[in-house]
Symmetry: C2
Subunit: 727 residues, 2 copies
């Protein structure tokens, strides 16, 4: 599918991967720091993920770290209308070639004469990562440059330079748009926050910041020599329990420290318990809140104040966990888990629509070559990654990401396909962790239908991606694999008598177990026909005898499946109970897990540790996604919102109004039981209206497409006002 | 082949790769810094190879850099007779687990109770490389530990730790045997050297250090503010030519510098031309000579003083180029080239017998995964690597290297095999550089017989290595490939009419070209029968109409082939002419290239640059190898000199005496025209004696094995004295 929004990035890509050898230069372009694509993300994620601490021990991930390339060559070809004075900034020593001739030393600038030129910089940086910022009137480092980790430029016996087989790729960049904004010095933004309350605890004090936060403790008016301990708590109980709290800092001062002291390590907390030696004094405690500056482009308000609060706290939870990357939780694990991140991508499309955060996270998770284990060593987590790439394309319409990283998609898929058993199904081999969900008694061995379903969806994503990358043979190959796998999935796991999907096959024998996982994913993957869906809804989703889901992680999909089947009234009630339940307990961000049957400190426990649970976990923020996609009812149906659907469902609300961001604008929806207003800033939409009467439109015609169901066409920047009667 | 010298390392390996889960501990063991095997070498070679400069621009290699793993887990299992106080030193923050339980913080020591324990340290270091030094009475970091880059230790829903599929490998180590000797701070040894002469040049002076050297210029009594330039020269001409010399340093002083100033960058030079601003003054110039401290375990003296000088200057050349790794030349390229290094390995076995230098160089060259290009991007250079590994095993008897790195051998060989054409021959694809030799008009396209011969030898090396690594299927697979390739090599390239090997086939048509390369390699590879050898000797090696070899690089093999055919008299004359020719021109180390037909400054030119030639190049040192192997006549015939041959050939000398190092000792040979004395400190040798009379032995019996050819058995530590009559 091609549309005007796709044409521009495609053309840009054709230029920058070198199909057109000469870059168009103009004085209007902006310079930015550039690097080998994906390497900044690998480097930053390595750094970030070891910042998790557990009682002052670093706690690095259990999966492998990749590394940036320490030596890369950047290159551009330009045609200049006049001579250009070009400034050179580099992270790492470099060799500069102008038209193949080495320039003396490490110049801070060069004069490039008018005309056609080739500029190459080979940069070495083993400590951080090689990066350059080049700025002349015309010559500027930006996304149009290419880069390689193997320049293969050699001199033959005749003294001639030879180069062949060099794997050039488009450079990576983000928003480092000034010479002094070096990638190696990247830091999130900080802003001062004050405490809302303090109380005396023993010889020290408990400082309360009023809500869950993240950042660096500051000590004002610090004096004296001796020790000072900071015990952090996401809960009051945790901060007070100095022997068991998950994070803490023991500081030691020699009397020469500054009076305004900022702690080096960032932590997640609402409370800080400060205990000092009698010889150490201070005036007060504040903190530096650390965050990724993002605009809340999505919005939701309704007639239900509790639901509005749920949306607000979800958005804050999402913002706290949207950092260098989409992480799982801010106290724990502070890691990038593909399954958790997949939900963050989806929530992001309804809140920030921040594409760089999705790209950074996908790249950090994928790492580089060779692939020797599943992403996060979890089988399902490799598969979510492919679907995440597809969704990114669907929401943004961006093809550059897929074109640049298709080789990494392919090598990961090859790794997965090589791990299939003789029946062509994924079955865990040594070193493979099958996660699915945290649930007691959930079988995970043998052939699990859920994993095959994710693989089928991943193969579909690969087929679309291969097409975008211009690999037509691959496109057909993956399409055939996907179709074949779906056929066998139903042959083996679909129980024709019971009309449900079974969970597992061991040694060729399908086990008599039904779980929610494959059944609910098959609904929003649209793998079932209507009869199958209805059967699943009644026999699985709404059946309390089927193993219950207790994590917000899988609750995300369970509620999505119900919404996809029109159960918004039911889901609204569930949201009020579940997320409302956390709010009642004083939650200021949403948790890793919530069980209404627990009470008091039990809510804080997890993994056998009294404060093991994360009280700010991305997967707790799913109402953002559900309310945007299934109540406001906005979703793309063609890449980059070139086509989309708006299908508002009040689900029992009197009214709701909100905004769903799109690549270059938004879709605004304002809906009561009698009136719907929609204003979209791009693309062509279909408005679907459930109405007891024939709706009246401000423009165009309502087409009847079913019982009490009408459809109208939405044009960009033209507000549609509909009078109707909600069912 | 198995012998007592092989048994010990094999047993050690079995222990350390974890077949025996518990390490024997004793208070006698030595602690040393340990790391992921091969990672120190990758890291150090990356650093070293960007130290090449050309007129103050850094000049990094044209091939890709690999990186150390930034996150690794070290582990050992111990059984302690008593509690042990264990000190912990780490390069990078770490997480310490004792018996699976995390220890609080970053402790500097822990007390490990008596009994069985598992100790794990997960260490992060992205800037350098993760490394640890652990020292208790019993618990000590050493080669018995194992390490992984993917620990895959995860917690299941029941809170149980799970670990499977973890790729444990034995750690790497060298000689960092004290806590303060950190791998990241590795430096070669330095010692002060004085200048031998200075002369006034313009406003400055030319400082002569008397011979080729390498290191850091020191300025004594430095005062003032302003600029000082150092122009380096391997020759007087180069140092004086400030506009064209290859290396230089422009220093700038602000007046606050120390009076004794040591320049930061190391350089290769004999002369330094020092030019200063009038405002800058100094007393004198000296230098810090930088070198790898190695014992000269090989020796050679003879009745020919010129030959003795050739050996001495060869040894010095070899020492200068044996540094962090075996490099090509000390001024240029300061890089690790597999073809050059292969010769250094061979020379090393006759001079230092320093195994760590061979291992470091092999590891730096091989890098890590994935393999995306030939080593140094040169087809022949990948193949020399395999042969170098085999030779290492043959000379040292060490199997641990092959067992540890067999996966890297295999993946490189897979890369090579995938690049074969439909006929099963290597033919350059895009990005492949076929080097062979610097020689004008040498054809390098299509199927070149020389490359196929190296591939055949590499496949033989792989077969032996697979056997050592316990991969029996691979052993047969590679053996069959080798045999098949040799058959086709002769079918296609051996000219049965001319009785020589042809050079090249293009599009299925053998070209009417004969070169020396495949023909001479086939001789010492022992691929030819006697008839074929004689034909090649006369029609190729001694035929001036066949394209002449002008580089010492290929001259190494040409002279080896002639020696292997008993032409020591001829080769001796060649050595006197060629290497003696360089000495006559004042060489203090041997050159990259020497053409007796050139004169004056022409000798300094190369690559179109007036001082482009390296005047200290490892491949210039081949007399060390030739004299040890083909005159003293000592070479191993079973791994680690468990069996060896001594076959002294005077080649026209009146007498010679020398020593060839072996893994744990040496073979001393003292030979005149009437008496041979041999004393070996290990293994069982065969002494081959060419004599006009039946030789008389000090022990054992001489067996006649041909016309005027006798054989005796040499026992360890028993001097053999033979009376004979040289032919």
């Amino acid at each position: 599918m091609m549309n005007k929004h796709l044409v521009k990035p495609l053309l840009m890509l054709l230029i920058c991967i070198g199909l057109s050898p000469m870059n168009t230069v103009s004085a209007q372009q902006k310079a930015t720091w550039i690097w080998y694509p994906g390497d900044f993300e690998v480097w930053l994620s390595n750094k970030m993920q070891v910042r998790r601490t557990e009682r002052e021990a670093v706690f690095p991930p259990l999966w492998q770290y990749y590394s940036p390339y320490a030596l890369v060559t950047f290159q551009t070809e330009v045609e200049l209308p006049e001579a250009d004075d070009v400034k050179i900034y580099s992270e790492g020593p470099f060799q500069l070639l102008l038209d193949g001739v080495q320039v003396h030393g490490q110049p801070k600038s060069i004069k490039v004469p008018a005309g056609k030129h080739k500029i190459s910089l080979k940069v070495y940086n083993q400590e951080v990562l090689p990066a350059i910022y080049i700025e002349g009137k015309y010559v500027k480092s930006n996304a149009s440059w290419k880069v390689t980790n193997e320049d293969k430029l050699w001199i033959d016996e005749n003294g001639q330079a030879q180069q062949s087989g060099t794997p050039w790729v488009p450079v990576g960049s983000w928003n480092f748009d000034a010479p002094e904004r070096k990638p190696s010095e990247f830091k999130l933004t900080t802003t001062p926050w004050s405490a809302v309350k303090t109380e005396k605890v023993g010889a020290g004090e408990l400082v309360d910041f009023g809500k869950e936060t993240f950042g660096y403790v500051k000590i004002h008016g610090l004096k004296g020599k001796g020790k000072l301990a900071l015990y952090y708590g996401e809960s009051r109980e945790e901060a007070l329990d100095t022997a068991k709290c998950e994070t803490l800092d023991h500081l030691s001062f020699d009397g020469t420290q500054p009076e305004l002291y900022t702690n080096a390590g960032s932590k997640a907390f609402r409370y800080v318990n400060v205990q000092t030696d009698p010889s150490v004094k201070y005036d007060s405690i504040s903190m530096l809140y650390e965050y990724l500056p993002l605009e809340y482009r999505g919005a939701f308000k309704s007639s239900d104040p509790l639901l509005n609060q749920i949306w607000d706290v979800s958005a804050y939870t999402m913002h706290l966990t949207t950092r260098e990357f989409f992480i799982d939780g801010i106290k724990r694990d502070r890691w990038i888990w593909s399954g958790d991140a997949y939900q963050s991508y989806l929530m992001n499309y309804y809140l920030f629509f921040d594409s760089p955060s999705v790209e950074r996270t996908l790249l950090a998770l994928r790492g580089k070559e060779p692939v020797t284990a599943h992403i996060n060593i979890i089988m399902d987590y490799s598969l979510y990654w492919f679907i995440g790439v597809y969704d990114y394309y669907l929401h943004t319409g961006d093809t550059k990401f897929i074109k640049t990283f298709y080789p990494r998609m392919k090598s990961l898929m090859e790794f997965c396909l090589e791990r299939r058993n003789k029946s062509g199904f994924l079955e865990p081999l040594e070193g493979d962790w099958v996660f699915i969900d945290w649930a007691n008694g959930l079988p995970k061995t043998g052939e699990v239908s859920f994993e095959q379903m994710l693989l089928a969806r991943s193969l579909e994503a690969m087929s679309v991606s291969a097409g975008i990358a211009g690999k037509n043979d691959d496109q057909k190959y993956y399409q055939n694999l996907a179709e074949d796998l779906k056929t066998r999935l139903f042959d083996v796991f679909w129980d024709k008598k019971e009309n449900v999907m079974k969970h597992q096959r061991i040694d060729g024998k399908v086990q008599d177990i039904v779980t929610r996982y494959a059944n609910m994913f098959g609904i929003f993957f649209n793998y079932f026909n209507e009869d199958q869906k209805q059967s699943i809804k009644n026999k699985v989703l709404l059946n309390d005898n089927v193993l219950q889901i207790t994590t917000p992680y899988m609750r995300f999909y369970e509620l999505e499946a119900l919404c996809a089947m029109g159960e918004q009234d039911y889901v609204l009630k569930e949201m009020r109970d579940y997320w409302g339940g956390m709010l009642k307990l004083g939650a200021t961000s949403f948790w890793e897990e919530y069980n209404p049957n627990k009470s008091g400190k039990e809510h804080l426990e997890m993994y056998g540790r009294p404060y093991g649970k994360s009280l700010c976990h991305a997967w707790g923020a799913s109402p953002i996604y559900l309310l945007g996609k299934y109540y406001l009812g906005v979703k793309p149906t063609a890449p980059g919102y070139s086509e989309y659907v708006v299908e508002p469902v009040l689900g029992g609300l009197k009214w709701m109004k909100g905004e769903v961001p799109t690549p270059n604008g938004s879709v605004k929806v304002d809906c009561s039981t009698t009136r719907i207003k929609v204003l979209a800033s791009e693309g062509t939409g279909k408005l679907k209206i459930k109405s007891a009467t024939t709706p009246k439109l401000s423009y165009g015609k309502a087409k009847k497409i079913g019982v009490n169901l009408y459809e109208a066409t939405l044009k960009a920047n033209q507000e549609m006002v509909v009078s109707y009667k909600a069912l």
